[in-house]
């Protein structure tokens, strides 16, 4: 259906942007294969030992991501435990994604980006007013996606914690300066996450247009679950 609307324009990629839908990063029977539109949310349960490949279809598109133990969502991804346990703030192949109880939820089984982020957090309508000004308060944001998608699983504000940002680049410089800078990904690059137990994965395809986390060009994601 084509309508005219008075809603302010929503960000979407340039129609000429190259898109590479790629494929699973690890072999196995494909048990799920879904596309996530720009600005949209996604969730799914990845069974223990299955592998979730996330494809950065358009390149440098931040996939904000939270993880919960599927059988008890009070146990959830903890950026702090993940960092403390491995002694490094960046996420790379081999990183064990741990819960607030320090236990493994998933592990990075494959990765085509130099380093992935878990210190940059998610954008929100409210935090956008701090970072960019109150003129951005009307814009959609990852926190909106997490709240809307989380509600489908009984999750609310108490369940929003520091998240992962696949394909986003947040360096910490020598003087402690920290910020979102140009990405190191590209069309078709992937990350693969092996579930260490049944895990609920909630993703926000980031709609942010005020910093380089999406290369100012919101593109789709592809989510593929394979069973070895």
């Amino acid at each position: 259906m084509s309508i005219t609307t008075t809603v302010p324009p929503r960000p979407v990629h340039d129609p000429d942007s190259p898109l590479d839908w790629s494929g699973p990063l690890v072999p196995g029977e494909v048990v799920l294969d879904e596309r996530v539109a720009p600005r949209a949310a996604w969730s799914g349960v990845v069974a223990a030992a299955d592998v979730l490949t996330i494809v950065d279809v358009g390149g440098n598109q931040s996939a904000d991501c939270l993880l919960y133990a599927a059988d008890d969502t009070a146990e959830r991804y903890s950026a702090a435990d993940t960092i403390a346990w491995q002694g490094n703030v960046y996420v790379r192949t081999g990183t064990v994604l741990r819960s607030n109880l320090g236990r493994p939820l998933m592990a990075v089984a494959g990765n085509e980006v130099d380093r992935q982020d878990t210190i940059g957090g998610a954008c929100g309508k409210e935090s956008n007013t701090l970072r960019y000004g109150h003129h951005t308060a009307y814009q959609h944001a990852c926190r909106e996606n997490f709240l809307a998608e989380g509600a489908r699983h009984g999750l609310g504000v108490r369940d929003l914690v520091s998240n992962l940002n696949w394909f986003m680049n947040v360096p910490v410089e020598a003087d402690g300066s920290l910020g979102i800078v140009d990405g190191m990904s590209g069309p078709g690059r992937r990350v693969a996450l092996r579930a260490e137990r049944d895990v609920l994965v909630v993703v926000s395809n980031c709609p942010q247009m005020n910093n380089p986390c999406n290369d100012f060009n919101c593109t789709p994601l592809r989510m593929i679950v394979t069973r070895p």
Binding site: A80, G102, R103
Partner: protein, 282 residues
């Protein structure tokens, strides 16, 4: 007839038990001091009669405070071995709580220090670090988890020899109707880490005894504090020291104050906070 460890002259009736219990009144190295102006350790430069809380938290202990907007809180690392893992929640709506990612990202600075705001995920300042004589802090690693302490020390329980920070925060949170899901990553004061170019954490540890941090409550807060070793503390033993906590009446940050005027992001954060507090009558 029952017989206790104290024998024939023991506590067989309520009168004897009551007299015995009352005879146990004493002091310990870790205790609250009430009223607060009776603290043996009044903070420098503070009129003791303005104090609203005074306490020494035991090594491996915890505390939890419900504080008014405008309360100033001083945490002191008495012997250089304290590690205060702190969470703050908006007491009026505890779904709003410390967000370490926003606390680092919005000021464009990973390392905490004087003037740094502790931000919620809702675009507001929960507390401001208004003074800091330590400079050794960490907003990356959070409080130690049960699994970490079990692996490192063999036990993580609050009643054991090596309580985890998370076990202590759970107990502190429970006093305010809060549960595990209300405990996001915490910030830790008095034990520092730095990030190397490859992302590796470098331990900077303690700045020594007698260092302090002052937090100013910008909203009515629930403050949860665990005093347990930092998870990256390289020492194999469980080393924690006493943590002193004093609170007194002050005033919240205004838009003309230096910490608010420092950067455009901080100025807007305080603007949001002041507008919210005014609208809600806080």
């Amino acid at each position: 007839m029952t017989t206790g460890r104290l024998g024939a002259e023991g506590l067989a009736n309520v009168g004897q038990a009551r007299a015995d219990a009352r005879g146990r009144a004493s002091v310990s190295d870790w205790m609250p001091y009430l009223p607060a102006n009776t603290t043996p350790y009044p903070p420098d430069g503070v009129d003791p009669d303005t104090l609203t809380w005074a306490e020494t938290v035991a090594p491996g202990g915890y505390t939890h405070l419900r504080v008014a907007r405008g309360t100033r809180l001083r945490l002191e690392d008495v012997d250089g071995e304290a590690c205060a893992s702190v969470l703050v929640h908006n007491a009026a709506q505890p779904g709003e709580r410390l967000n370490v990612a926003d606390t680092q990202k919005i000021p464009w600075q990973a390392y905490l220090g004087a003037g740094h705001p502790l931000l919620s995920g809702d675009g507001r300042v929960l507390a401001t670090i208004v003074a800091d004589t330590s400079g050794r802090h960490d907003a990356f690693c959070g409080a130690s988890s049960d699994a970490w302490n079990e692996a490192k020390y063999g036990d993580a329980t609050a009643e054991g020899p090596s309580p985890s920070g998370h076990a202590l925060l759970r107990l502190a949170a429970a006093r305010h109707g809060l549960e595990s899901r209300d405990l996001p990553p915490a910030v830790s004061f008095f034990k520092g880490v730095r990030v190397a170019a490859d992302g590796a954490l470098e331990w900077t540890g303690s700045a020594g005894p007698g260092r302090s941090v002052d937090l100013l409550a910008e909203l009515p807060l629930v403050v949860l504090i665990a005093n347990a070793p930092h998870p990256r503390d390289p020492r194999p033993d469980y080393v924690a020291g006493p943590l002193r906590v004093h609170a007194w009446r002050s005033r919240p940050t205004g838009l003309d104050d230096d910490v608010a005027a420092a950067t455009p992001e901080r100025e807007r954060a305080y603007r949001n906070t002041i507008a919210y507090a005014g609208l809600a009558g806080l």
